[in-house]
């Protein structure tokens, strides 16, 4: 069945088709539509799951982790400030090895507060132990949720997974989405393996206990890291199985027109579709250019990324995030992976920060990025990281500042006049 769905709608359908048992929830823009759909379906009985609204995302994630540890298939969703409010529990419940799926609808972080997207929220959760899948289309959101449960519940992994989609650009954009048949989904994603269910009378356990000293602590943390890395070999099996059942393939990386590309854009999420459009236009004018879009960010698919990038002349890495005082997160991760190869003549890698707080990245900017990267490849001189911002934008900002100034002077004048 094909349906016109928003990214949020696709996420709700993903949870419904995964036949989840439990949905701890808390509203936050732009995620709320997901829990509204799920609330309607659980209330009407269309979906045999229990939804409960908690007092915060911190509580929501605690409940999600506890329920997953108790053996219920659990789904939850959040965004931005909510993800950060629950950050303590992201780390904690990953340490519980509680497998469930959390959808994050990316939204830029305060301050200043905004509702529009970038990846600062999701990348703040980068080191938590959650696996991360980044989506660019509504179909991908639904499919990734089903794949994410397979990953999370895999006996060699047992870690929670975040499926990420961009707020507004994907959460509120309608696209035709193919809904798999529930019967086929059950074959792809069998019921929860209750061997791991805790707390019931016949399976008492003291879970998430303290450790004394760095030895046992390191052991458990290394175990998490190794489990996460095992997802790199498990993921392709799941992707192949998904393709054989549903005819759609979602690799760890999407490589678009990269076969003979000299210059490759690298970026995550729905803004990568803008890069695709730029690739098509540049190809039309004869440039050998492509796009690599990492879908799996944790575990980090270093080998696949190196394979896709090592032989290029230039790589333009666009970060829709900003690590203050450092720069783009994706840039440092990708260049670190390439550095380990110790290539005799590595590609040049340029860094661009853009799309913060939903700021558009226009086609002409992709052309400029391409040009700068091609020139760097020719000259061997890598320009410093660039923050995308136009003179026009700066002029608009100056106008806003001027208005603020005028208003402030006016208030002072009125105050002095005693009115």
């Amino acid at each position: 069945m094909r349906k016109l769905l928003t990214g949020n709608g696709a996420a709700a359908w993903g949870a419904r088709l995964a036949d989840v048992d439990y949905i701890p929830a808390f509203p936050i823009t732009p995620q709320t539509e997901i829990i509204e759909d799920l609330g309607r379906w659980t209330a009407s009985g269309e979906m045999p799951a229990h939804m409960v609204t908690l007092d915060s995302e911190h509580s929501m994630l605690t409940a999600a982790g506890a329920a997953a540890a108790a053996g219920a298939r659990t789904f939850s969703a959040t965004s931005s400030q909510g993800l950060l409010y629950g950050m303590e529990m992201l780390y904690t419940i990953a340490g519980w090895r509680a497998p469930f799926v959390l959808v994050n609808v990316s939204r830029a972080l305060a301050a200043p507060v905004t509702l529009e997207p970038d990846h600062s929220d999701i990348l703040a959760a980068r080191d938590s132990g959650f696996l991360q899948i980044h989506c660019a289309t509504c179909q991908e959101v639904l499919d990734s949720i089903l794949m994410a449960y397979r990953l999370a519940e895999h006996p060699d992994i047992r870690l929670p997974v975040i499926v990420n989609l961009d707020g507004f650009y994907l959460s509120f954009t309608r696209e035709p989405v193919t809904l798999p048949e529930p019967g086929d989904v059950t074959v792809f994603l069998p019921p929860v393996n209750e061997e791991f269910a805790h707390f019931r009378r016949d399976k008492p356990v003291s879970h998430a206990v303290s450790v004394l000293g760095g030895g046992p602590y390191s052991y458990f943390r290394y175990e998490m890291h190794l489990a996460s890395q095992r997802a790199l070999s498990v993921y392709p099996e799941i992707a192949a199985d998904f393709e054989s059942k549903f005819g759609r393939r979602h690799d760890m990386l999407e490589c678009y027109r990269t076969e003979d590309a000299d210059i490759v854009f690298v970026m995550m999420g729905s803004f990568a579709t803008k890069a695709k459009d730029a690739v098509d236009r540049l190809r039309n004018s004869g440039e050998k250019v492509g796009l690599v879009r990492p879908r799996l960010l944790r575990p980090f698919p270093a080998e696949a990324i190196c394979q896709a990038l090592a032989d290029r002349r230039g790589i333009a890495i666009l970060d829709q995030n900003l690590s203050m005082g450092m720069g783009g997160v994706l840039y440092s991760e990708i260049t670190a992976a390439l550095f380990r190869l110790h290539l005799p003549s590595p590609p040049v890698a340029t860094s661009f920060i853009g799309g913060l707080g939903g700021r558009d990245i226009r086609t002409e900017e992709f052309f400029e990025i391409f040009k700068v990267t091609a020139e760097a490849a020719d000259s061997g001189k890598v320009p410093p990281p660039r923050l995308l911002y136009t003179e026009q934008e700066l002029r608009e900002m100056r106008k806003l500042q001027a208005i603020a100034q005028v208003e402030e002077s006016e208030l002072i004048r009125l105050e002095e006049a005693g009115t």
């Binding site: 701890p24 605690t62 053996g71 529990m89 019931r200 016949d202 003291s206 206990v209």
Partner: protein, 310 residues
């Protein structure tokens, strides 16, 4: 017919469930309470813990519990209880968990979590009428980090963050009333040194449904400044002086389960504890002593005949 079965010391369980050898301090009033509570609730329980002294109960690979335990975080133990309760209920409903494999969910936190950081999660659990027991061991400070002032620190107590002068200059928070105002199934105060009163209340709470709070005053040798063997004496004096009223809330009504006939002077309780030593040495602080006594007197003055058992 009585709704509880325990009426005297002889009725208390003679075998004890909680394992020994935990890392808690000698003379811990909280541990004393937990031991007594566990004997009544039995091993078919999952304790959901928040950051605090009890976090050291279970240190890998050892546990003193025959049932289950889950450490969460300081702010969200009631939310952990929600997740477990809901998961067990869903699995029962879907036929994946036999009813006899169900478990009683018990939140276990100190006062720092119960009356401070955890209040949001607690409030949510009460709103949702969560079927759980909340056991708070109230040692009147952030005990595990060295007795800093918490929301439950009483007037005049010195703590490591109110270490000079009159000590903590304000009121102890009334967690009992915060809960009772929201009409949960049950709220009770207990203390380990009154084991029969405690056992009766736990027995009653055990067989109820909905949110149930048990607050135990937990004398704390290290935090309150006394030697461990005095925990029982201090606990008894807390009751006899009227500082720690033993009471319960059911169906909109508060009843005092133990009413000290002629209350002993509060200073008998205070004088045993290093945190109040400044009230006596080098000179008696008559004003503050009188003020503390007055507050206790005022409390009991406000207890109506209807709040006392016939």
């Amino acid at each position: 017919m009585s709704d509880t079965h325990i009426t005297r010391m002889k009725d208390l369980p003679s075998t004890h469930l909680l394992g020994a050898g935990t890392a808690l301090c000698a003379g811990c009033g909280g541990l004393e309470t937990l031991k007594e509570v566990y004997d009544i609730l039995g091993p078919n329980t999952v304790f959901v813990n928040a950051a605090g002294c009890m976090t050291l109960m279970s240190i890998y690979p050892f546990t003193p519990f025959r049932g289950s335990w889950l450490y969460t975080a300081m702010a969200s133990a009631p939310a952990g209880a929600q997740g477990i309760r809901d998961a067990l209920d869903i699995m029962k409903k879907k036929g994946r968990l036999p009813a006899d494999q169900d478990t009683q969910v018990v939140v276990l936190t100190g006062d720092g979590s119960a009356s401070g950081m955890g209040l949001s999660a607690t409030s949510g659990a009460i709103d949702r009428n969560l079927d759980f027991i909340y056991l708070c061991y109230d040692n009147e400070g952030y005990g595990n980090t060295g007795q800093q002032t918490s929301a439950e620190t009483p007037l005049g107590a010195r703590t490591s963050t109110d270490a000079v002068g009159v000590g903590f200059p304000r009121e102890k928070k009334d967690l009992f009333s915060i809960w009772a105002a929201n009409r949960p199934a049950y709220v009770a105060t207990v203390i380990g040194s009154e084991p029969v009163d405690l056992a009766k209340k736990i027995e009653k709470a055990r067989d109820m449904k909905g949110p149930r709070l048990i607050i135990s005053l937990a004398p704390c040798p290290t935090g309150w400044g006394y030697t461990p063997e005095k925990t029982i004496d201090i606990g008894r004096l807390a009751v006899k002086t009227g500082v720690w009223p033993l009471k319960e809330y059911v169906d909109g009504k508060v009843t005092h389960t133990v009413v000290p006939g002629s209350r002993r002077p509060v200073e008998e309780y205070l004088a045993l504890q290093g945190r109040f030593a400044h009230l006596f040495e080098p000179a008696r602080n008559e004003t503050l002593l009188a003020e503390i006594q007055q507050r206790v007197d005022d409390y009991w003055q406000g207890v109506s005949a209807a709040q006392v058992p016939a």
